[in-house]
């Protein structure tokens, strides 16, 4: 089962009327499974005007259908998956109580490599995930993105993390990622568009996912915490 399919299953489970008392994840800004959040389109519109292909048509009003969490480089990462856009999530990188990254990601592509050779294209020692430059398909803008974390022309092995996702029903799923973050500057150099490429493996399947991301401010989010949100 691909991550996208898994999220669809989670969403369906969440809408079930007989959901058991759920486990909740305490994500930043009092976000948790079942929270409602309104996302301002202001940053999307402004980024779009500066050349972003993220788009400004993402539905503003969402519920959090699941929260994923993983750790990397002493940083806690949270993904709050949104109900109204398949595979989209609010991304937070937290060091202590400080949010060092706050982004909105939307899934732009999912590749299902059919053969071992196809997988090698993505993941072998000089595979695509980890290249200094990544490029999206023409229908997604065809833009080039630079590797974010380690500059230079050499290939880097993808970062391996295990994301634990707790959905609204409290069920837990693990996703093993082999991923690399990229970015490109927009015409306003203060703005950037991010590209996250990940070979995501669940217990039932594996696919390569590509997300586009934009930085957002805390004030771009209006959170309505669920009644059972962790304090």
């Amino acid at each position: 089962m691909s991550l996208l399919t898994l999220l669809k299953v989670i969403k369906d489970k969440h809408l079930s009327a007989n959901a058991p008392p759920p486990m909740r994840t305490r994500a930043p800004m009092r976000l948790s499974q079942g929270s409602a959040v309104t996302i301002s389109i202001t940053p999307l519109v402004l980024a779009e005007s500066e050349g972003s292909v993220f788009g400004s048509d993402l539905p503003s009003d969402n519920k959090i259908i699941a929260v994923g969490q993983y750790n990397l480089f002493d940083t806690a990462y949270y993904r709050c998956y949104l109900s109204q856009s398949e595979g989209a999530f609010l991304h937070f990188a937290m060091r202590g109580n400080d949010a060092v990254e706050r982004r909105l990601y939307r899934l732009i592509d999912e590749v299902d490599p059919p053969t071992t050779a196809d997988w090698a294209f993505w993941l072998d020692e000089n595979g695509y995930i980890g290249n200094p430059i990544a490029q999206t398909r023409p229908e997604n803008g065809g833009n080039e993105y630079q590797r974010t974390w380690v500059p230079g022309g050499q290939h880097l092995p993808p970062y391996k993390v295990v994301e634990t996702i707790v959905d609204a029903s409290g069920a837990t799923t693990t996703v093993r990622h082999q991923m690399m973050p990229y970015h490109r500057a927009l015409t306003d150099p203060k703005l950037a568009e991010h590209l996250l490429v990940s070979a995501a493996q669940t217990d039932s399947g594996m696919a390569v996912n590509l997300w586009l991301g934009l930085d957002i401010a805390a004030s771009d989010l209006t959170v309505f915490a669920s009644a059972d949100a962790p304090v």
Partner: protein
């Protein structure tokens, strides 16, 4: 304005318990005459005021951050609204009602947010969160100015009172030093006086001895004159007695003269 009148008339509403505490101190003490313990208490109350000032400064930073943040957010929303508004206008001009409706759905939340931040006029001068944040900032800025003035009053009084105390203590120590020197000088003077007295007494004794010696010489001279006179005016027996007496006078002047005096007195 005196510190007490300042605290009672100007600062009390803003200073709260700390202001009450300072007022009660000023009501009970005069900084010019307060004791060391009272002045220390004033210092403690001024320190509490300093803590309160630090709190207000922290709140001011937060106020300023809120104003900056809202201003920035307003700027972003207004720029986004202009962009989306342009799309809406284009859609309407193109007669694309579906797109226009869609874009209206996008721009409405932005316009709502602009109104929340900047009020009906969209600039935040009369209402809205930005207006309120600016008001809060202004009030807290004024509060801080009053607190600082109050603190300056208290610190000045505390400092001058401490200086006065320090000066008084220094003068007292100086006076004690002077007193000790004076006492030492007095004791030395007494010792000196004793020595002088002893020396004077010795002189007096010497003088007495000299005077006594002179008297004795005079007596001796008188006795000789008397003897000579007797020798010249008396017979042989008397002269031999006188000679004998004078001979004894060479060896035992005092005794012979005494005998002579007795003898002469017996004759007279």
């Amino acid at each position: 304005m005196s510190a007490l009148s300042f605290f009672t008339n100007v600062g009390v509403a803003k200073l709260g318990n700390i202001g009450d505490s300072l007022i009660s101190w000023y009501a009970q003490h005069d900084p010019e005459t307060a004791s060391e313990a009272d002045i220390a208490e004033l210092g403690q109350r001024a320190e509490a005021l300093a803590h309160r000032i630090a709190e207000i400064q922290g709140k001011l930073e937060s106020d300023q951050h809120t104003v900056n943040h809202l201003t920035e957010q307003l700027d972003r929303d207004q720029r986004a609204a202009v962009i989306v508004g342009g799309k809406l206008k284009a859609a309407q001009e193109a007669g694309n009602q579906l797109l226009a409706t869609q874009i209206t759905g996008q721009i409405t939340p932005i316009l709502n947010e602009i109104e929340q931040i900047a009020g009906d006029d969209g600039i935040g001068n009369t209402s809205g969160r930005l207006f309120e944040a600016k008001q809060t900032l202004a009030v807290d800025t004024a509060d801080l100015a009053q607190f600082r003035e109050a603190h300056t009053h208290a610190i000045n009084d505390w400092t001058s009172a401490r200086e006065r105390l320090s000066r008084a203590r220094s003068e007292m120590e100086h006076a004690q030093e002077q007193k000790r020197y004076a006492e030492e000088r007095q004791q030395q003077a007494q010792r000196d006086a004793g020595l002088l007295h002893g020396a004077q007494a010795g002189r007096t004794a010497l003088d007495a001895m000299e005077r006594r010696a002179a008297e004795l010489k005079t007596d001796a001279r008188a006795a000789k004159i008397q003897a000579d006179s007797l020798r010249q005016t008396s017979g042989g027996d008397v002269a031999s007695i006188v000679n004998e007496a004078l001979g004894e006078q060479v060896n035992k002047t005092d005794t012979a003269l005494g005998r002579l005096a007795r003898l002469t007195a017996g004759k007279a």
